[in-house]
């Protein structure tokens, strides 16, 4: 690594970590961590994407002994990390376009494979990740993503899902949840915010491709996120990880609530956390402290039109319905065992 990790970079819970056993501490708390995305970048305070990217890429760096190359879609992550001549990336990194990160990743992987064969190796020790936001993944980059999955190219694609086009000023994407206000789904009319019945579940679409590994994670559970990245990097072929990363700016939430919102998204059932291998769901993270969606929605101005004197309890109930359906579909709440 070209930059030393500074103490203030070692995570919010550094001090708390020291109270834990060695084995329970996050690797991120150590100054010995790989530090792929270093300090000084221009992400907003409380940016879930910056946190998710740092943990995901660092975990991938550790899993590959630093032999990692990244392709990056256009978006917040690209913009805040690299205005030339500055760059926060401490690994070889390529930004091409908004909609082609998965294909660029495929190209890098193909080149590495040929280089490995020429060096007398069966496969490349240098590995590839491609990453982008939800717009670059579920919308404009979807064709390239599906192509990379279908060919089973040796790429881990990481989608940082903040449920909208934040870089361009908070517009609606196919990952924007129903009821949410964005600049293109204004809270007006009989159906304020994003319409119900739209949107795309890309983790399940990835599962349907039958690729070796698909997982979802949130920045509320960074150990789980790291473990999933490690698992993904232990496998070959196409892999997909969607990380739920709250956006304080786009969601109208307090910067200090990023982790809380990510935890509530999981605990309400709105964002199911699971793993799938070769087209089958392999594990789900059970909800430990069930929460109602209202608690999650109230913390975000993008849902403010659902509350107050002119609130829409009916819409809140429909959103609760989505969470309940997820809980049932993925078995997110452990069955009560009779004493």
């Amino acid at each position: 690594m070209t930059q030393e990790v500074k103490f203030y970079q070692t995570g919010t819970f550094t001090v708390g970590n020291r109270l834990l056993d060695e084995g329970q501490r996050t690797v991120q708390a150590s100054v010995a961590r790989s530090n792929a995305l270093t300090s000084g970048h221009r992400a907003c305070q409380g940016c879930g994407e910056a946190l998710g990217a740092r943990f995901a890429v660092d975990a991938a760096m550790r899993a590959t002994q630093g032999q990692l190359i990244a392709a990056n879609a256009t978006g917040c992550l690209e913009v805040f990390s690299t205005p030339y001549p500055e760059t926060s990336w401490q690994l070889p990194w390529l930004h091409s376009l908004f909609g082609n990160a998965a294909a660029v990743g495929s190209g890098i992987a193909a080149a590495l494979k040929v280089k490995a064969i020429k060096a007398g190796k069966a496969q490349s020790e240098v590995r590839v990740i491609a990453q982008g936001g939800d717009g670059g993944t579920t919308d404009i980059g979807f064709g390239c993503l599906s192509g990379m999955f279908e060919r089973n190219d040796d790429v881990l694609y990481i989608c940082y899902d903040n449920e909208g086009y934040m870089n361009t000023g908070v517009q609606r994407s196919s990952a924007t949840p129903p009821g949410a206000r964005t600049a293109t789904t204004v809270p007006l009319g009989p159906n304020p915010g994003e319409e119900f019945g739209r949107g795309k579940n890309v983790p399940l679409i990835a599962v349907a491709h039958g690729i070796p590994y698909v997982a979802t994670a949130t920045v509320a559970d960074l150990h789980d996120l790291e473990a999933k990245v490690e698992k993904a990097m232990s496998l070959r072929g196409a892999r997909y990880l969607q990380i739920f990363v709250p956006c304080p700016l786009g969601w109208g939430a307090a910067s200090c609530d990023t982790i809380r919102l990510a935890r509530l998204a999981r605990e309400t059932g709105l964002f199911p956390v699971f793993e799938a291998e070769h087209g089958e769901i392999a594990s789900v993270t059970k909800i430990r402290h069930p929460a109602k969606v209202e608690e999650y929605l109230r913390l975000q101005k993008r849902f403010a039109h659902l509350f107050g004197a002119h609130g829409r309890p009916d819409i809140i109930a429909r959103i609760q319905g989505i969470a309940d359906k997820n809980i049932k579909r993925f078995g997110l709440i452990a069955e009560e065992v009779a004493p």
Binding site: L94, N100, S106, G107, I108, A110, R151, D153
Partner: protein
């Protein structure tokens, strides 16, 4: 070795001799036989090690090429027509990033109306994208230009498009002289990238550049193409030394000395024009021909030298800019800046319409008599155009234009009319 084969196969074999490490393929007529040929060479183990990726679109093809080229692999792809348009964002990106990808464009018309046959609308639409564009006159030259293209692209860190006429060249069986692997290896050294995704020296490629340096970055791309203007003839000369035949270069003149009228063209139509020029010369008409082989960078000086002595210049184009006329004509006029020359633009062969020697002869005779209009569409059927204009004046809902014209031509009428069936 002299052999008889399809143009596409000749190109596939020549590309294979260049030892590409990654090839990405998405099928579009008339490019298909090239990537099929390469796919077979990879699958059969003749071309190894090489990764052949069947991708899901041309946009993905160019994106995969960007990734593999940035990772230091010699990279090739091929496309045409709608496919070239579908990948445009990545085409500009590859040039902006300075990645030496080589791509064949099997020139084909652009719809609507959909049309699979040859003209130059596709590559002409990309003349400003920052790629070098070389045009092949024959299958032998297409083959030879690909070998030169890898050398040029990698030296300049700039992508190169080799344009060859769809069907007319890609699907034509001609005699070609296929070089040996040893000859190609002598001419084309292994790829040494200027920038590469390397663990030992991690760089960020493709980050944002603001107003403080964007102009300079873009200007450098232009300056590098001007440098390529010098390297293209040098590489062609080195090629001639190694392979014993001429190919490439900036322009090629044919009987231009003392010619009063010179016709300028690109691609396979040059062959027909040579014969037309010969016939006219035999009749005592003072005509010559200039073939533009490097369209981007455009050889302003070479074109000026070749045309400076002529009284009139006819630019024959297989594409046109709707609303003004010629595309190449504008560049030729720029080359002749300050020189008093009678200039004519002739648009010909759109959508695969055959360019006949008899039409060329008639057109050139009119030009020599200064009876040609400034912008002429060769063999245009004015009657059916006028009928459609009249139809549109008479009826608001005049229907699909293309269908109306074809009914007037009679093709559809003949197929559907009871008389035709009888």
């Amino acid at each position: 070795m002299i052999d008889q084969m399809e143009g596409s196969l000749a190109v596939a074999r020549a590309v294979a001799l260049c030892r590409p490490e990654v090839i990405c393929a998405y099928p579009i007529s008339p490019q298909t036989h090239i990537v099929e040929g390469l796919g077979a060479l990879v699958k059969g183990g003749t071309l190894a090690p090489c990764e052949f990726l069947n991708v899901e679109s041309e946009f993905a093809a160019m994106s995969v090429a960007i990734g593999s080229s940035a990772a230091g692999a010699r990279t090739y792809t091929a496309t045409a027509s709608q496919g070239l348009l579908f990948m445009v964002e990545a085409v500009y990106n590859a040039a902006g990033l300075g990645l030496p990808i080589v791509m064949t464009v099997a020139n084909r018309a652009i719809g609507a109306p959909i049309n699979i046959w040859n003209d130059h609308s596709d590559s002409m639409s990309q003349r400003d994208c920052g790629w070098i564009q070389l045009f092949a006159e024959s299958n032998q030259e297409a083959l030879d230009l690909h070998i030169q293209a890898f050398r040029l692209a990698e030296e300049m860190s700039m992508p190169v498009m080799v344009c060859m006429d769809g069907f007319i060249l890609t699907h034509a069986y001609e005699q070609v002289d296929m070089p040996t692997q040893g000859e190609v290896d002598t001419f084309l050294p292994p790829y040494e990238p200027r920038q590469v995704l390397d663990l030992a020296e991690p760089v960020s490629i493709g980050a944002m550049v603001g107003p403080e340096a964007f102009m300079e970055v873009r200007y450098l791309a232009h300056a590098k193409q001007l440098m390529a203007l010098e390297r293209i003839p040098e590489i062609a000369a080195e090629f001639a030394e190694t392979f014993g035949r001429q190919a490439g270069g900036l322009v090629r003149g044919y009987r231009t000395e003392d010619a009063e009228t010179i016709v300028v063209a690109l691609g396979s139509v040059v062959g027909t024009l040579e014969e037309t020029v010969d016939a006219l010369r035999a009749d005592g008409v003072s005509v010559g021909l200039l073939s533009i082989r490097s369209y981007r960078p455009f050889p302003l000086a070479a074109v000026r030298v070749a045309l400076a002595g002529a009284k009139r210049v006819v630019v024959l184009e297989k594409a046109f800019s709707v609303g003004i006329g010629g595309v190449v004509s504008g560049d030729v006029r720029m080359a002749l800046s300050g020189i008093q020359v009678q200039g004519y633009t002739v648009v010909a062969g759109l959508g695969g319409r055959a360019i006949m020697q008899v039409s060329l002869t008639r057109m050139l005779k009119e030009a020599v008599a200064d009876k040609l209009g400034p912008l002429t569409f060769l063999d245009l059927d004015h009657e059916i155009v006028n009928r459609q204009i009249a139809r549109e004046a008479a009826t608001r809902r005049s229907g699909p234009v293309a269908e109306n014209l074809l009914r007037d031509v009679g093709t559809v009428a003949a197929m559907v009319s009871p008389r035709g069936a009888a």
